[in-house]
């Protein structure tokens, strides 16, 4: 049965001598393979190598602090409601007396988690934030890991680190090892 009149009848011609000899075709194919060995590679060795980031790249989130080193986030939940992937969860808590140097508002995020596997890095959380607390960094990405639960970033990895000197001003003492680790992290 013919459905259209565009069908072509395939003619099966007998192979020429060169084709029948088999080896020329093998060498032709291998030469293509060899040529590709010396061509510029399309891939890079991530994560050891990284590609240059665009200045407006939206990468790993950060929870910013204000000028006095207090956490800006007040757990208002606007980022979570704006998130199309529902990647953000948080638990709010009330600031106690004496914690005024740690949190800017009366309410703060006791826990703040972003699931980097759910996140689509659209930046809507950044746009929704009324306190200018959450930002997507233009130069960082979530590093590759083996376990899924390692991609759930809590406050320990999201909140902007404070330099050890600024911490001691606010009365938080670090051990020399902790201070050194923090300095190398900040550098």
């Amino acid at each position: 049965m013919q459905l259209t009149n565009r069908a072509k009848v395939l003619e099966k011609k007998p192979m020429t001598l060169a084709e029948r000899a088999y080896l020329p075709a093998i060498f032709q194919g291998l030469s293509i393979t060899m040529r590709h060995f010396f061509m510029k590679k399309a891939t890079i060795r991530y994560p050891e190598e990284t590609r240059p980031f665009s200045p407006i790249f939206r990468g790993l989130h950060v929870l910013k602090r204000d000028e006095q080193g207090r956490e800006r986030c007040t757990a208002c939940g606007l980022c979570a409601v704006a998130c199309p992937a529902e990647a953000i969860t948080m638990v709010a808590g009330e600031r106690k007396k004496g914690e005024e140097g740690l949190y800017r508002e009366e309410k703060y995020a006791v826990s703040y988690e972003i699931n980097m596997l759910r996140c689509i890095f659209c930046g809507l959380c950044e746009e929704a934030c009324p306190k200018a607390a959450v930002y997507l960094q233009p130069d960082k990405m979530a590093p590759p890991r083996y376990e899924r639960d390692e991609f759930i970033y809590g406050k320990d990895r999201l909140v902007e680190p404070v330099s050890p000197d600024a911490r001691s001003i606010r009365g938080i003492q670090l051990t020399p090892e902790q201070a050194e680790a923090l300095r190398s992290k900040l550098a």
Binding site: C76, V81, A92, E94, K107
Partner: protein, 335 residues
């Protein structure tokens, strides 16, 4: 009966009805907003000026326009009255000014406030206000007072609508709180840090249009738009309480119990403190079904109700869904 024209729509209402209630009989987007008027509370209204309208013709007998904008919640209708609300540029302009006035001393701490998402002032400002503030002076502050373990008072957020005072006056035998001071110094207080403790005192939380009076047991627990409202009832021992409430769920936990409200944010039935603060187990309640939330509200974000347009094709649709479908037919796409 009096016949009035509201925004070009004719409506016939009994004599003595206020302009606001006449507009509410028409319904829809032409209804003026109200921050202090509250139908169940006698004597409320006339304070916030949010409901100002222009009366283009006073009555059929005397068709002169009223010289100034009038508060529609306290002005009774007269036969032949012509009222302009959304059709009058002057009214919309004045309303912007009212938003600014109300926000002069209101802190812009919505990210912290528990009322955010169901706040009348937030909605009012969003719909009628401008998105910037011209106010640079210091806002008024108050010394924090503790009014008991159940209710949290944030005096800075108060807009002095007097709703809570009327509630306490009309629902409870002995009112222990009121507005103290005059003018700029006016504040809600219990004078000698008296604890508000009455069976129906929790209703002041529901009537408060802003976050000045909030539920202390729900304080900072969850933003309202992450909770799911569910209608429920129980046989309450208190004969004045009907026991018909809305439970606000997060997962399996009842985080908060409130009275049911109508489309204008007014409580349909008062509930007692036992229902509101003590019964926070699903086992205490008979669940009726999801409460209807207006599509324009942020609470409806990620809140899926009435998924079916054609209930007949689903054999075992719960009765509550069928009832809800009849009352609130789902929106049709494309119009």
């Amino acid at each position: 009966m009096a016949k009035i024209t509201f925004d070009g729509i004719e409506v016939e209402v009994p004599d003595g009805t206020t302009i606001l209630n006449a507009a509410r009989q028409i319904g829809g987007s032409i209804v003026p907003p109200a921050m202090c008027y509250y139908t169940p509370l006698k004597g409320s209204g006339g304070k916030c000026r949010a409901c100002l309208v222009r009366v283009a013709a006073g009555s059929a007998k005397d068709p002169r326009p009223m010289p100034k904008l009038v508060a529609s919640c306290v002005t009774p209708v007269q036969d032949g009255m012509i009222v302009e609300n959304t059709t009058s540029e002057q009214v919309m302009d004045v309303r912007k000014g009212i938003v600014e006035m109300l926000l002069i001393n209101h802190p812009l701490d919505c990210p912290v406030c528990d009322q955010a998402g169901e706040c009348d002032l937030q909605n009012f400002a969003y719909e009628h206000g401008v998105s910037t503030t011209r106010y640079v002076e210091e806002r008024r502050t108050f010394e924090k007072i503790d009014i008991g373990p159940l209710i949290q008072l944030h005096m800075t957020r108060c807009i002095l609508c007097y709703r809570c005072v009327y509630t306490a006056d009309q629902l409870t035998d002995k009112r222990v709180h009121g507005v103290l001071g005059r003018g700029d110094a006016a504040e809600i207080g219990t004078y000698i840090e008296n604890i508000i403790d009455n069976d129906f005192s929790g209703n002041v939380i529901d009537v408060c249009p802003v976050g000045a009076l909030t539920d202390k047991t729900f304080r900072f627990k969850q933003r309202v738009w992450f909770t799911k409202p569910v209608n429920a009832h129980r046989d309450c021992e208190n004969e004045k309480c009907g026991g018909r409430v809305v439970l606000w769920y997060k997962g399996k936990d009842v985080l908060r119990v409130t009275a049911r409200k109508d489309e204008y944010g007014e409580v349909k039935e008062w509930i007692c403190n036992t229902c509101r603060f003590d019964k926070k187990e699903t086992a205490d309640w008979t669940i009726e079904g999801p409460a209807h939330i207006d599509r324009s509200s942020v609470i409806s974000a990620n809140h899926y109700e009435l998924p079916v347009v054609n209930p007949q094709v689903i054999a075992d649709l719960p009765e509550s869904s069928i009832r809800d479908l009849e009352q609130n037919p789902p929106m049709k796409l494309g119009n």
